[in-house]
Symmetry: C2
DNA sequence: TATTGTTATACTCTATAACTATA
DNA sequence: TATAGTTATAGAGTATAACAATA
């Protein structure tokens, strides 16, 4: 429906049916990097969700799957800290990933309070498809920004993080 | 409490009290620009909210105030379209700004369905302070990224939008 | 028929507190 | 006392649908 609305707006704008919002001035907003970063981030999430729709995976879920894949056996606390996800939120997020049989929580021998996280075999298989779709999303983003800007931005922001 | 948590983590990490989450690998996440854009965007919003706390203004409210200031008399529909805010959400957001006497909705002569938006005198006065705080936030962001990257990013993203 | 603005509902994400079981 | 994980609640933001008034 995002697309439906956009189409309708474009058509209506062509016919000049409502005051052209395109002509509104940004004012001081034009000097705030945060505004543009936010707009880009929204574009990215929408494209990600749309591209990954066949697997019904959202950005936060995807980030957890990749971290668990790259760091099997780590606890929820460390995964959450790495991604900046609150433990309360991560608990529910993992509940969903566990329900889908993609992630398993095992007892941690050295500390009975914590759970060690692993991908299941099923999770690994799903992740192959998921990564393919995510790669397509990244191509969409690269097409939007241009290869040079995409590469440069990645280098800059990796450095920041 | 964001700061409190960070402080606690740093202290605990120094004492080596929990597995160093810093050493977790990002895996494929390291190649996704969206991940880093999201982290930066979160940093920006948190700094914005903290810096603007004296005026209790959130990013979306600030963007509406600036657009109305730069485009007095426009309708909710055009402001919403410009900022990518759904009309349902904008209605509630304006309700709050109206409650604080910063924005006024007037009848629109040419179309009885729509409301024309204006800053009140009180709103203009508040916006002076708000802009000063927002400027401080922008300086924080520039300090984070470095002046060159800040400028370059602004130019790139303005172009995209 | 379509648009403006409103209210209502549902879901995601964030923030916080309270609780348990461990340490 | 402090930490790991869970559950619950509240708020912002997003997405829809339905509605009244108007075009």
């Amino acid at each position: 429906m995002k697309r439906r609305r956009a189409k309708r707006s474009a058509a209506a704008a062509k016919k000049g049916r409502f005051p052209a919002a395109d002509t509104l001035a940004l004012g001081q907003l034009d000097n705030h990097l945060g505004y543009f970063v936010r707009r880009l981030q929204i574009w990215i999430f929408q494209d990600f969700i749309r591209t990954l729709a066949p697997m019904k995976v959202r950005p936060a879920q995807y980030s957890v799957l990749l971290i668990v894949e790259a760091n099997p056996g780590r606890t929820q606390a460390s995964v959450g800290q790495k991604l900046g996800i609150e433990r309360a939120r991560l608990a529910r997020l993992l509940h969903e990933l566990e329900r889908r049989k993609w992630v398993a929580r095992h007892a941690n021998g050295s500390d009975a309070r914590s759970h060690s996280l692993y991908l299941t075999v099923e999770g690994e298989k799903a992740l192959v498809k998921i990564k393919q779709l995510a790669e397509q999303h990244e191509l969409n983003l690269r097409a939007l920004l241009g290869q040079k800007r995409h590469r440069q931005s990645l280098d800059w922001l990796r450095d920041f993080a």
